[in-house]
């Protein structure tokens, strides 16, 4: 079972995504901000992390930096929902591995397709 962690402070976004992804057959957990996400990651790793960028207290970027520092051996892919895909992609892809960008407004179909694509390439991780 593929586990996905959604990190976003917009409850509506989380709600819709969760519905859609669960319908697509994924297990979805959520975190309201970066701190919650990190706490979660201490306990277990998801297969994919989807996060927004503009969040209070800790931005998505800061979250990724923390993850990179604290979990250098992470296997999971990070998807970032951003409204500035181009610029961020160029900067980040050199710095932090295993990061993809999705531009807002996010098409759910698109997101699901990307996830399926990703999981097709990666073998099922150990539970």
């Amino acid at each position: 079972m593929r586990r996905i962690l959604i990190v976003d402070d917009e409850p509506h976004v989380v709600r819709v995504l969760k519905l859609a992804l669960e319908r697509a057959g994924y297990v979805v957990d959520q975190a309201g901000d970066g701190k919650e996400a990190l706490d979660y990651l201490q306990r277990s790793e998801p297969d994919v992390l989807i996060t927004d960028i503009d969040m209070p207290r800790m931005t998505g970027r800061e979250l990724c930096t923390h993850i990179d520092k604290e979990l250098p051996d992470r296997l999971f892919q990070i998807f970032i929902l951003t409204s500035r895909a181009e610029v961020e992609h160029r900067e980040w892809s050199r710095v932090i591995p295993n990061v993809s960008f999705l531009e807002k407004p996010v098409s759910i179909r698109n997101l699901v397709a990307r996830l399926d694509e990703h999981f097709a390439k990666v073998p099922i991780s150990q539970a």
Binding site: E10, H12, A20, D54, S83
Partner: protein, 618 residues
């Protein structure tokens, strides 16, 4: 000093003196020659007379020469008949030298010098000296024969003519000398008379030269001197005219030089005052001119830089490359004509360098150099950046609600759309987001318009009470219903004020929305209005999260949202309060805030009533 005087006299009078000396010399020479001639003539005359008389007498019979007693001899007759002043004596001597008969001039004693016995010298002449006074006499002697035998000698002597004047010759010489002597001064004075004008002229010319004041030289002269003077004066006049013309030209040149200098210094002051830094590069790229602003803009001393090439005074390689490319070799217009950089010593500044080729006014294809302008575009850059940032912000803010709407609408299209509950939920969410979106867009538009200055407030006399009440009601109705209490407190009568109805509504609305948003459950939102004297005061109070002290200044900045958790937990884009502030400013009002974190905040708008405004305007 005597020598001085003497030499001066010599200098001034030397002509005259020389003439006198010359004439004297001539006289003396003539006289001398005359005397010598006279003497020779006299001598010859005496000789002639003497010789012939001696001969004649020697032929006479001896007896006749010796008179008998009582008879006058021939000799006496001769003596008296002769009356020749040169006659000295006539002597008849016997062969032994004894005098037989003598006739002589008074006071003369014939010297008793014997004659030689040699017959060849019986007839001849000789010079003797009288023993009495030493005078020289020329004696002519001849033998006397009586019946064929030497009876004696005849000695006839005349005084030798001397080199000197006879008394009766003096008038002759005087007559000769006098004209000569008189003519000399005459000539001298004539010459002097001729020369005198020249001297006058000389001294006047000296004056001319000394004073440098060129004028006609007047002199009473005649003949060639007059002609000369006329020509000279004519020349002086021409010279004078020429000098006057030159002086006038010089004055003109001076004036025009002054004018040029004034124009130049005016242009220079313009160049120096231009707010941009200006530099003129010649064809080789060296600096010809630099204005003072160069120092403030780039920290480069404009005086030091003259004559230097770009790489000598500029640190920035990009600028150096750009300026180096400004040379006349490169084709104008085919390369970028401006470049931007930030100086190393002031990285927050941004400077644009532009180069404009300077075309020769006579030949448009020839480039004399380049005009380089350094402009401080820091402000422009910041404006660009901030507007860029603003747009990015706006786009970002717009995308978030759009995102939610997109996702919900997509879900509606899918299976979730089948569920009634989901549909209702989706409808509500979409509705809220749309509202949020519209408010955002309106706020952005308003703020931009106000900042651009394209909003002018339209003041109308408005019943403020009604406006406040309506806005309050509209907001409280749509309030999120977190058991908030809504309190409104307005005076029963409020004087009409001249405000822009729409803008004021937006401002009150924004403040009330905030009061609701950042409130606690069970809290209060109140709107209170007061009129004091000439002012109207509107207070909007909430019992919400409050604003931290350090944030209170910044809350009115565009897009600012506090870092506080409770604030961040609510959706918002940070434009509401900045819009309120702009609107209040437009109404010449004052906006203030007081807040205690954890307890609540109070926003106060204060502005003058209409009458006060009018008074102020007047």
């Amino acid at each position: 000093m005597r020598t001085g005087k003497l030499s001066a006299v010599w200098r001034n009078e030397r002509l005259g003196l020389m003439m006198i000396a010359a004439s004297l010399a001539v006289i003396m020479l003539t006289v001398g020659l005359l005397f010598s001639y006279q003497q020779k003539a006299d001598e010859a005359h005496i000789r002639e007379q003497g010789v012939s008389l001696a001969r004649v007498l020697s032929r006479m019979p001896f007896a006749q020469l010796l008179p008998a007693a009582g008879q006058q001899g021939v000799l006496s007759l001769l003596q008296y008949g002769q009356a020749d002043p040169a006659f000295a004596y006539l002597l008849i001597v016997d062969p032994h030298g004894t005098a037989l008969n003598e006739v002589s001039s008074p006071g003369v004693i014939a010297p008793g010098v014997p004659l030689s016995a040699n017959p060849t010298s019986w007839l001849g002449e000789r010079t003797l000296r009288l023993s009495s006074d030493g005078r020289a006499v020329q004696e002519f002697h001849a033998p006397l024969f009586d019946q064929g035998q030497l009876a004696g000698y005849l000695r006839l002597a005349y005084f030798k003519p001397g080199f000197g004047l006879d008394a009766d010759q003096v008038p002759f010489f005087a007559t000769l000398a006098l004209p000569i002597f008189l003519l000399t001064p005459l000539f001298y004075f004539l010459v002097r008379r001729e020369i005198r004008p020249l001297q006058t002229v000389n001294s006047q010319i000296d004056q001319l030269l000394e004073k440098g004041n060129w004028h006609r030289v007047e002199v009473g002269a005649t003949g060639e001197l007059r002609d000369f003077m006329d020509r000279f004066n004519h020349f002086i006049e021409l010279a004078r005219n020429r000098i006057d013309a030159l002086e006038a030209d010089r004055a003109d040149l001076e004036t025009s030089a002054k004018v040029l200098s004034y124009q130049r210094s005016r242009i220079e002051s313009v160049v120096q005052s231009i707010p941009d830094a200006i530099m003129i590069l010649d064809e080789s790229g060296a600096v010809g001119l630099a204005n003072a602003r160069l120092a403030t803009l780039l920290g480069v001393d404009p005086n030091r830089v003259i004559g230097q090439k770009p790489n000598e005074w500029c640190d920035n390689p990009e600028v150096v490359a750009f300026l180096a490319g400004c040379g006349s070799a490169s084709t104008p217009g085919y390369r970028s004509d401006s470049v931007e950089f930030s100086p190393a010593e002031a990285p927050e500044k941004r400077i644009a360098v532009s180069a404009y080729p300077l075309f020769s006014p006579r030949d448009m294809s020839q480039i004399l150099g380049n005009l380089v302008v350094f402009r401080d575009i820091t402000a422009e850059m910041l404006a660009r950046r901030s507007s860029g940032e603003f747009v990015a912000h706006v786009a970002h803010e717009l995308k978030s609600p759009l995102n939610v709407i997109a996702m919900y609408s997509e879900s509606l299209q899918g299976e979730d759309g089948q569920s009634e509950a989901f549909r209702i939920e989706a409808a509500n969410v979409v509705h809220d987001e749309v509202e949020r979106l519209s408010m955002l867009i309106n706020n952005i538009l308003s703020i931009t318009k106000i900042e651009m200055g394209s909003i002018s407030i339209e003041r109308h006399r408005v019943k403020l009470r009604d406006l406040l009440e309506d806005t309050f009601n509209a907001v409280s109705r749509g309030g999120r219903g977190d058991d908030l209490k809504f309190i409104i407190d307005l005076p029963r009568e409020m004087s009409p004020v001249a405000v822009d109805k729409d803008l004021m509504r937006i401002a009150i609305n924004n403040l009330l929305t905030n009061a609701i948003k950042y409130n606690r459950p069970g809290g209060t939102v109140s709107l209170v209005a007061q009129e004091t004297g000439g002012k109207v005061r509107i207070c909007i109070r909430d019992t919400g999260v409050g604003i931290a002290a350090e944030d209170q200044e910044r809350i009115f900045q565009k897009f600012f949202r506090s870092e506080q958790e409770e604030v961040r937990a609510k959706a918002g884009h940070g434009l509401g309060l900045s819009l309120v502030r702009e609107i209040v400013h437009l109404h010449h009002g004052a906006l203030s805030v007081s807040s205690t974190p954890g307890e609540g905040s109070e926003f106060t708008i204060e502005f003058d009533k209409e009458t006060e405004l009018l008074k102020q305007a007047v």
